[in-house]
Symmetry: C2
Subunit: 123 residues, 2 copies
DNA sequence: GCTGTGCGTAAGCAATCACTAACCGTTAGT
DNA sequence: ACTAACGGTTAGTGATTGCTTACGCACAGC
């Protein structure tokens, strides 16, 4: 899976896998160690390690040593990136929606602007 | 890629691919047709079709016919799901952070509660 | 020092996935 | 009716990916 690792994968890439989402969800609830996570999932402990590496490289979690254990915690930087992207998607979608609503009066007379008309008809 | 299709993939699964994120971003900007998207991306038009199918099954986009063209628009339902999940991640992460902040006074005396202490040290 | 526990990493493998070319149905214009 | 444009679908292919086992290092307790 190291072959899969690229320097800084996108948080979206990282959470595009259901196992990694489950792991991340667990860490978001409370910081925990690799072994604790592995015991709650139907996969091997090294697999969890490898997933954590990806989450870490994506900026979604960070880790620190505590004796023989490594404790993983959420890195809000990665969450912020996701939120920013999601907001952009949302803004774009709602922007088109609002533009269509403002043109609602003329919707049937101005069929030349297909983009807004399409969005209005979808809603 | 139909082999990849499952009835209702998660929006996270759908956006876990960079090509699909690019497609979705384009649609979030404004509704558009398959061919328009394909012309702006370095992949074939059938590939775009297949990606759109996944985004649609994930509830992130919807489509309608307009002559020979199919116009794709954002489905805010899928966006809402992403937002809800993201909020849950965020809430969990900040909850642990706030709990640690409230215990800041006793942080050095109560090292037995490792979870909160860990989160406080991370921040 | 020895032993046990925890965990990162590498290598290998089977399954999955993103891509292409080809095919064909639908729509629209002449 | 013919032609062009559009786009969904299928099948095949090579690349990618998530998993496992094995190895070895670090830490902690005795």
């Amino acid at each position: 899976m190291i072959a899969y690792a690229q320097p800084n994968p996108s948080p979206w890439d990282a959470l595009g896998d259901p196992t990694r989402r489950a792991i991340f969800r667990r860490i978001a609830d409370a910081p925990c160690a690799v072994g604790e996570i592995a015991r709650t999932l139907p996969i091997s402990r090294p697999a969890v390690s490898q997933h954590l590496r990806i989450l870490k490289d994506a900026g979604l979690v960070s880790d620190r040593a505590e004796g023989t254990r490594r404790i993983y915690t959420v890195d809000v930087g990665g969450l912020a990136k996701l939120r920013a992207d999601l907001d952009a998607f949302w803004t774009g979608a709602l922007g088109a929606f609002k533009a269509a609503a403002e043109r609602d009066v003329d919707a049937h007379d101005q069929d030349t602007n297909d983009k807004e008309t399409d969005e209005q008809e979808k809603s």
